[in-house]
């Protein structure tokens, strides 16, 4: 199968308008004859479900949480980008497009990214109209802040809780449609598989997490808005429940998985304290606006700091290395995330790390407090400072924060075309679950933008085209494909519950995470990746022999839920390693140690790797087939990314 991204012809700025005009429409009276299934209720899912229901479609929405409002979009802190140019500082759609393409290290599609920048302005309007309380200036206008990878202030924010406020906005729109009877909401339901009939997605099979009941749901199209797979690393900033199961099942039903090795490691997280650690906490990137990142100039000083023989504040200016400001004078502390993370790792590897473990660098606000006053710093970052203090028991107003990179976001995901359709007709992927807009590295405050762009302003147009093509013929769960898929789901659950070995599911998850972090984390090479592949295979085999899963299916069973998710991560991990092995260049967050510039920056190989790697599943324990979608750049000149 050749991959057709369906990028419209014509000048960049006209592609989306033209495309919208060319898409087929469903007449208003026919819309109510269609049912659309939406899995996941984060920013992408809630906004899509609400917008489609407003248009008149019947929507069935599913989430595994006890309420759609708890999807992990809620935890996004810093903000959402939009090319409003309210600050008169030279922003434009073109500039947001350019920053995003460059930030992604030229591994995303021009057409998609331009559209994202184009609709970004509508998102802010929409959210404000819903009553989202964005930060304001005294004159009553919206305030902006700046974020990594950009030299303009285009980030809209609601203190340190922007994701929460945007999700509550989308949730309110969803609630209105639930009240109107256009959305049927299924809380505490997990999607177990996609049902395909004649190659088209026609429904899903779910498990009611309270009763264990396996149910089929039919629809004319299925939208996966199920987020990313960062939890494959065990420790990440993702919520405990975040998982790849829905996307992975779709992959096994024919949806190609694109660029799985593109993972974002966020530079400003609170360092690990011990083996009991269950997740990592992110401190918003906005902190880098005023915080200065540094380590001691010498290993000796770092060792003294770690032992507590000297205090950070007692280190003289000339004994400190503000390494980001030193190496990247024009962007300083605001370099993109991949660059900031990699440099922090470098400092720690050199033995100049700080904190008890030595696996951390400082993020210092002393200068900002001198310049702005403690009250102003508190007003800007108060809740983040409080959170830091709660977790570490240290006062960041008095001593520098300790930070270290952590897995945060996955740029890879299900391959989709310009219409957000996967390689399975009728099956769509939105938000973090797809791969399309961030290339090899996502810029800060762009995840919220993409999730809402897909849900509010892209899918309402593109879905109609498919639905109009297939027609409003009624769908139901009578087709044998549903019974067959249900049987497979039940068999797998039975198989999991039959595991009565000696190791807990959590132990397997932690081991997998260590392998992924060590060999497929911030720096990768052929030798390590090859080793990781063997280790993952062995671990997966061991899981199906020696794991222990407790309880029964017909009850609320969190151990069984977790077992199913870990089993899927054990398969995904190997594909990530394959993808990282295949891509012998460095780009964005994917650093192949074999491919660096003389200054130690990621070195791309545009001649060989300017493509999207889309993987096709064949059969269990079989190598997947690689398909390449060539990336065509007509509007930007590819250059070695420089933030110096």
């Amino acid at each position: 199968m050749t991959l057709d991204a369906k990028i419209p012809e014509g000048p960049l700025a006209e592609k989306w308008s033209k495309h919208k005009f060319n898409l087929k429409l469903v007449n208003p009276a026919n819309k109510r004859k269609y049912t659309v299934i939406v899995v996941g209720t984060g920013l992408a899912g809630a906004s899509a479900a609400a917008s489609l229901a407003e248009l008149g479609y019947n929507v069935k929405a599913f989430c595994f949480q006890d309420s759609p409002r708890r999807a992990h979009s809620i935890a996004a802190q810093g903000g959402i980008n939009a090319a409003k140019n309210y600050q008169n500082d030279g922003d434009s759609i073109q500039r947001l497009f350019y920053d995003t393409i460059k930030g992604g290290d030229y591994r995303s599609r021009e057409g998609n990214v331009y559209r994202l920048a184009e609709v970004s302005v509508d998102i802010i309007d929409q959210c404000v109209a819903q009553g989202v309380p964005f930060a304001r200036e005294y004159g009553g206008l919206l305030d902006n802040r700046s974020f990594g990878g950009a030299q303009v202030s285009r980030t809209f924010y609601a203190r340190g809780q922007t994701g929460q406020q945007l999700l509550l906005g989308a949730y309110s729109a969803l609630n209105r449609q639930i009240h109107a009877g256009k959305v049927t909401m299924y809380n505490r339901h997990e999607m177990m598989d996609v049902v395909t009939i004649d190659g088209h997605a026609k429904g899903i099979v779910t498990r009611d997490l309270v009763t264990g009941k396996i149910e089929s749901h039919a629809g004319h199209a299925v939208l996966l808005c199920t987020g990313g797979y960062g939890n494959v690393f065990y420790l990440s900033t993702n919520a405990m429940g975040c998982n790849v199961t829905a996307a992975w099942k779709a992959h096994k039903r024919g949806a190609y998985f694109a660029n799985p090795c593109f993972t974002q490691i966020h530079p400003t997280c609170i360092p690990v304290t011990g083996d009991h650690q269950s997740k990592l906490t992110l401190m918003s990137e906005s902190l880098r606006n005023d915080g200065r990142v540094w380590v001691p100039k010498t290993k000796e000083l770092a060792a003294k700091l770690r032992k507590g023989e000297i205090k950070p504040a007692s280190l003289k200016e000339e004994d400190r290395d503000y390494f980001l400001e030193r190496k990247y004078p024009s962007f300083g502390n605001l370099v993109p995330r991949d660059v900031a993370s990699r440099n922090a790792k470098e400092m720690v590897d050199e033995g100049r790390g700080v904190g008890g473990s030595g696996i951390a660098v400082f993020l210092d606000f002393a200068d900002a407090i001198d310049r702005l006053g403690e009250d102003n710093v508190r007003a800007k970052y108060g809740n983040l400072f409080d959170m830091y203090q709660q977790i570490t028991d240290e006062d960041p107003y008095k001593q520098p924060m300790r930070i270290y990179p952590a897995v945060h976001y996955t740029m890879g995901g299900l391959w989709v075309d310009y219409n957000l359709m996967t390689t399975v007709p009728g099956l769509y992927a939105l938000g973090e679950a797809n791969f399309s807009d961030h290339g090899a590295n996502r810029l800060g405050a762009s995840a919220l933008m993409q999730g809402l762009a897909d849900g509010y302003f892209v899918i309402p147009y593109t879905l109609g085209d498919y639905l109009a093509t297939i027609g409003p013929k009624a769908v139901n769960t009578d087709h044998p494909a549903f019974a067959e898929t249900e049987r497979e789901v039940k068999d797998r659950l039975k198989q999991l519950l039959s595991l009565k070995g000696t190791k807990t599911v959590n132990e397997y998850h932690r081991e997998l995470g260590l392998i992924m972090w060590e060999y497929c984390g911030m720096a990768r090479n052929e030798e390590g990746l090859t080793k990781a592949k063997d280790l993952i295979r062995a671990l997966r085999k061991d899981f199906w022999e020696n794991a222990f899963v407790s309880g029964i299916n017909e009850e609320f069973n969190q151990n069984l839920e977790k077992a199913g998710r870990v089993a899927d991560f054990l398969e995904l991990g190997e594909l990530m390693v394959d993808d990282a092995l295949n891509r012998k260049e460095s780009c964005g967050g994917h650093l192949r140690l074999e491919s660096q510039t003389e200054e130690g920056e990621a070195k791309r190989d545009d001649e060989k790797y300017s493509y999207v790697a889309a993987w096709e599943y064949k059969a269990d324990n079989q190598p997947e087939t690689l398909h390449k979608e060539k990336l065509v750049f007509e509007n930007v000149k590819l250059s070695q990314r420089s933030y110096k």
Binding site: A50, S51, Q65, D66, S67, R70, H72, I74, A75, K84, D125, Q126, V128, A129, Q130, G131, P133, F134, A135, R136, E137, Y138, G139, G140, L141, L142, A158, Q161, G163, Q164, Q165, S172, A173, N175, R176, I178, H179, N187, V210, M240, G241, T273, G274, H276, Q277, S278, T281, M387, Q390, D393, Y456, F457, T504, E507, S550, G551, E555, F556, Q558, N559
Partner: protein, 252 residues
């Protein structure tokens, strides 16, 4: 640290529950409360016992999933934090810790410490929104909002919907939760067209769900992990009475 836990175990909504005592050894002060429970659960699973079920997800105090009643207080002893942000350094070696689910008629137990809080969703369905569709809205800067009003609306909007206010209240009243949403919308210009209809619809649904009455004791505010202010309740009462006394015909 070594601790003794007394945990509420209940198979499902239809079975009677009871307290079961578990030792928690090897507890580090750096662990979060939920990580301590993770460790206890790992031991239970290894012994072939059923792990303790509790709702949790983001573990950074924002999703509102976690919901434990710890030593008689929702989210435990620390002010202004959710259970997931509570660290074991808040306890002493040798402590006894009693862990219960939220206790409220409107939040039936699903299993162990997990309860059904869908009543909160249904209150939001009744009116917790501005009735606009996607698209066709004015430019964001066409709506001017004074900074103080935007900030106050934001303070109300930070509610995470965990239900601690209900669990803290002797009447299991949901007034703090409902009033936070009503206030956010009542403060903002976007919420004005439906202001009086909204407050009536949401209060009506709240009553239907079986939450108790408010007697202004303020326990909800004291225990709220996001420090939502009691003044939201005053604002909601004012709007509710206004709607009932003056505006009802106009807004019917």
């Amino acid at each position: 640290m070594k601790l003794t836990l007394k945990v509420w175990r209940q198979k499902n909504a239809h079975t009677k529950g009871k307290f079961v005592t578990y030792p928690a050894d090897h507890v580090s002060p750096d662990m979060s409360f939920l990580e301590m429970l993770d460790v206890v659960n790992e031991d239970l699973i290894r012994k072939g016992d059923e792990p303790i079920h509790f709702d949790h997800d983001c573990r950074e105090g924002i999703c509102g999933s976690c919901s434990l009643h710890i030593n008689g207080r929702p989210h435990g002893p620390k002010h202004g934090t959710a259970t997931c942000q509570l660290h074991m350094r808040s306890f002493k070696d040798g402590d006894n810790i009693v862990i219960e689910p939220w206790r409220a008629l409107a939040f039936p137990v699903i299993k162990d410490l997990a309860t059904d809080r869908s009543a909160f969703d249904r209150i939001q369905h009744a009116g917790g929104y501005v009735s606009i569709n996607t698209g066709g809205v004015p430019d964001a800067n066409d709506i001017l909002i004074p900074k103080v009003i935007a900030d106050e609306a934001f303070n109300s909007a930070t509610c995470i919907g965990c239900g601690a206010c209900v669990a803290a209240c002797k009447n299991a009243s949901a007034m703090l939760f409902v009033s936070a949403k009503v206030s956010q919308m009542a403060l903002l210009p976007q919420g004005q067209p439906e202001r009086y209809r909204r407050v009536q619809a949401m209060v009506e649904q709240m009553d239907k769900e079986g939450f108790g009455s408010c007697t202004n004791t303020g326990a909800c505010e004291a225990e709220c992990p996001k420090e939502i202010s009691l003044s939201n309740i005053a604002r909601m009462n004012r709007d509710y009475f206004t709607a009932k006394l003056i505006k009802e015909e106009v807004h019917h």
